[in-house]
């Protein structure tokens, strides 16, 4: 019987992406940024769509339904009502945004149809549907989860109106029960502080999260009392007197700066103690709000499973606390929790809610480990390497694993490119840079010489799933690197208690110093053999050599660059950085044996994030 294919699209705001499902099975998904090489690319995902069709050997007319992840009219309604509510304030923003809406965004349907017609001139517009932003997030969290019934919590900056929603997923249906609307938003609150601390909004939020452990939450009460009206059930309102995002071009205003007695930190300038304390404070506030909401929901609905999505679900520290507090028996988080994942959610929502198809629950990870992007064969890679006159060796997988594990144990840093690319912001062992976590200088080396990024930022470990509870206080799996957990006490090294500064990260505080953050935590990825066999075997081999069942795993890119997608991207990044070894499927390329050293000015190719 012919399979029903649904294409999901997210675009025009940030992180545009495409996703394909066939009879409800997740087949393929990838972000446009990986192909266009523009971080957080928001344009129509034409390259990603082209690759989706090529990889799956399809033409657009073989796709039955196409669904966009949100509703532009609803968004326009929010925009108009916001301008009216704040008028005459916000006129400048109105002058700026209205032309964009009147030229393009209001006519999104036509724009999408025009783009699709470039792939299929006879594209029928009746095939095109529109989902709602937070329904797309909720669907991306619930349908791939292993739960028959679950509470669904989504939170991000803003969709159409909603910024936070609560729903119940049961079999093939999702019912959104409650929502908090713009301008009150957990995501925008966090982004406001991201801006204030000098990081890029919609991009630097995870840096704020990484900075938080250096500070003390001295300002948490101030934030709660001045910026928020927080109710007992966790619902909240933001005091717009302190924010500029509804009517202006900045996230915060002068009143906000006066509250903290400091102007916003200039990007790339040095950090003061207050910046770290503010980062710690907002992280503390977000944690307490989310926990309060979830505790109240658990009491109200007595459902034991929880699904999470939306940008706030990428806050791994919050996720770690949700696990630790055991508010819910089981938690499942969509790995592409941001807007890119909306493409997948929209497609799933159409299949189950509009077409009313029966849901078959897959207990073995229907996200397929998030390895649902493109892959490249050994033949393709060989052709490319030969054209570039690269010196390489080719090893069969068993020998390759032994070779690479040994090199890592000797301190080499490896670019690891295998199988299908990950969907979502994390590299999970398909497009990763891997190294030895025992090496005390590795954190500094990776940050400054490989990734060219800020020295305070920690690295994450990939640990064998069956060994994770021996190293971390983690009693669940974290295959998507979305949970922060503390290291076990017996893995820690006693250090003298001193005041935390940015250089504290260089102190040896555990047996694996390069993945241990200043508060003895790590963002853990548990690796299992079924979804990630080769990577699992590699860590196992490293375990054999070193008695340490974990590796440093950081995304295969430099600061500001999207994660590498193709072998060419990987080779360019390899040659432009201080990586020692590049592994492309079965091919091994060592830096010191290359004649053709194309030492390009790679570092400056990408604008800072």
């Amino acid at each position: 019987m012919k399979k029903v294919r649904i294409l999901g699209i997210s675009a025009y705001f940030h992180d545009s992406a495409v996703a394909l499902i066939e009879d409800g099975e997740i087949i393929y998904a990838s972000q446009e940024e990986r192909f266009s090489r523009i971080k957080h690319d928001s344009s129509f995902p034409k390259r990603a769509l082209k690759n989706l069709l090529k990889f799956n050997n399809l033409k657009l007319n073989q796709i039955d339904h196409i669904v966009f992840f949100e509703k532009p009219f609803l968004k326009f309604e929010r925009l108009v009502e916001t301008y009216l509510a704040f008028a005459p304030k916000g006129f400048k923003q109105f002058l700026f945004s209205m032309p964009i809406w009147l030229k393009q965004k209001l006519f999104m349907k036509k724009e999408i149809i025009d783009e699709l017609k470039k792939f299929e001139p006879k594209f029928e517009k009746k095939k095109l549907f529109f989902s709602e932003h937070h329904l797309s997030h909720a669907a991306s969290a619930f349908y791939p989860s292993p739960f028959k019934k679950a509470l669904i919590f989504t939170a991000d900056g803003v969709g159409e109106w909603a910024t936070t929603t609560v729903g119940i997923g049961s079999q093939n249906n999702i019912n959104i029960l409650k929502e908090i609307n713009f301008p009150s938003s957990l995501g925008l609150l966090y982004s406001a502080f991201t801006y204030y601390i000098g990081f890029k909004v919609n991009s630097g939020e995870y840096k704020l999260m990484g900075l938080a452990p250096y500070g003390k939450p001295k300002y948490a009460n101030l934030i709660k009392s001045k910026l928020l009206d927080l109710k007992d059930d966790g619902s909240f309102r933001l005091n717009q007197d302190y924010f500029d995002y509804s009517t202006g071009f900045k996230m915060t205003n002068e009143k906000f700066s006066n509250l903290f007695k400091n102007p916003p930190r200039k990007p790339e300038s040095s950090f003061k103690e207050i910046h770290m304390d503010i980062a710690a404070s907002i992280q503390d506030v977000i944690e307490s709000i989310v926990l309060k909401i979830l505790e109240s929901l658990k009491k109200e609905y007595s459902i034991e499973n929880l699904c999470l999505a939306g940008g706030v679900a990428l806050n791994c520290v919050v996720n770690g606390l949700i696990q630790k507090k055991k508010i819910f028996k089981n938690v499942w988080i969509q790995p592409a929790a941001g807007d890119a994942g909306g493409s997948l959610g929209a497609a799933l929502a159409l299949w189950y809610m509009h077409l009313k198809k029966k849901r078959i629950i897959n207990n073995n990870d229907s996200m397929k480990g998030a390895f649902i992007g493109p892959s490249f064969s050994n033949e393709d890679i060989k052709k490319n390497l030969d054209t570039l006159m690269v010196k390489y060796i080719k090893l069969e997988k068993k020998k390759l694993i032994k070779f690479v594990a040994k090199k890592i144990s000797e301190g080499k840093i490896v670019g690891w490119f295998q199988n299908r690319m990950e969907f979502g912001p994390r590299a999970l062992g398909a497009r990763s840079i891997i190294a030895d976590p025992r090496d005390k200088s590795m954190q500094k080396k990776l940050n400054l010489k490989i990734k060219f990024r800020e020295s305070f930022r920690p690295f994450a470990p990939s640990v064998l799933q069956d060994q994770s509870n021996k190293w971390f206080n983690l009693d669940c799996n974290s295959p998507y690197m979305l949970i922060v957990s503390d290291l076990k006490k017996d893995k820690l090294v006693t250090i003298k208690k001193t005041k935390k500064t940015l250089s504290s990260i260089n102190e040896i505080r555990s047996k694996v110093p390069s993945i241990t953050h200043v508060n003895n935590s790590a963002r853990v990825q548990t690796v299992n053999k079924s979804t990630n066999p080769l990577y699992y075997d590699l860590i196992k081999e490293f375990f054999k050599i070193t008695k340490t069942p974990l590796l440093i795993n950081t995304s295969f890119n430099i600061r500001g660059e999207p994660i590498v997608c193709t072998p060419e991207d990987a080779y360019r990044c390899f040659m432009g950085t201080n990586l020692d070894i590049l592994v492309l499927e079965n091919f091994i390329i060592e830096k010191n044996s290359q004649q053709n050293k194309i030492k390009i000015n790679y570092k400056n190719k990408f604008s800072l994030d």
Binding site: L74, E77, V80, F91, P99, L102
Partner: protein, 50 residues
């Protein structure tokens, strides 16, 4: 354009937001002026009458 207008009115009916209609028409007129003028000659005039 006709399709767009049809869909937009259906949207207003579904959302029961008829009161938005005159506001949107006004906004569209001013917005169109901005588009047409690219925020140059007429922009200061628009600002003063607001």
């Amino acid at each position: 354009m006709i399709d767009f207008l049809k869909e937009f009115f259906t949207f207003l009916i579904q959302r029961k937001k008829f009161w938005l209609l005159p506001v949107i028409i006004l906004l569209m007129i001013f917005g169109s002026l901005i588009v047409i003028t690219h925020g140059t000659a007429i922009a200061p005039f628009i600002y003063t009458i607001f």
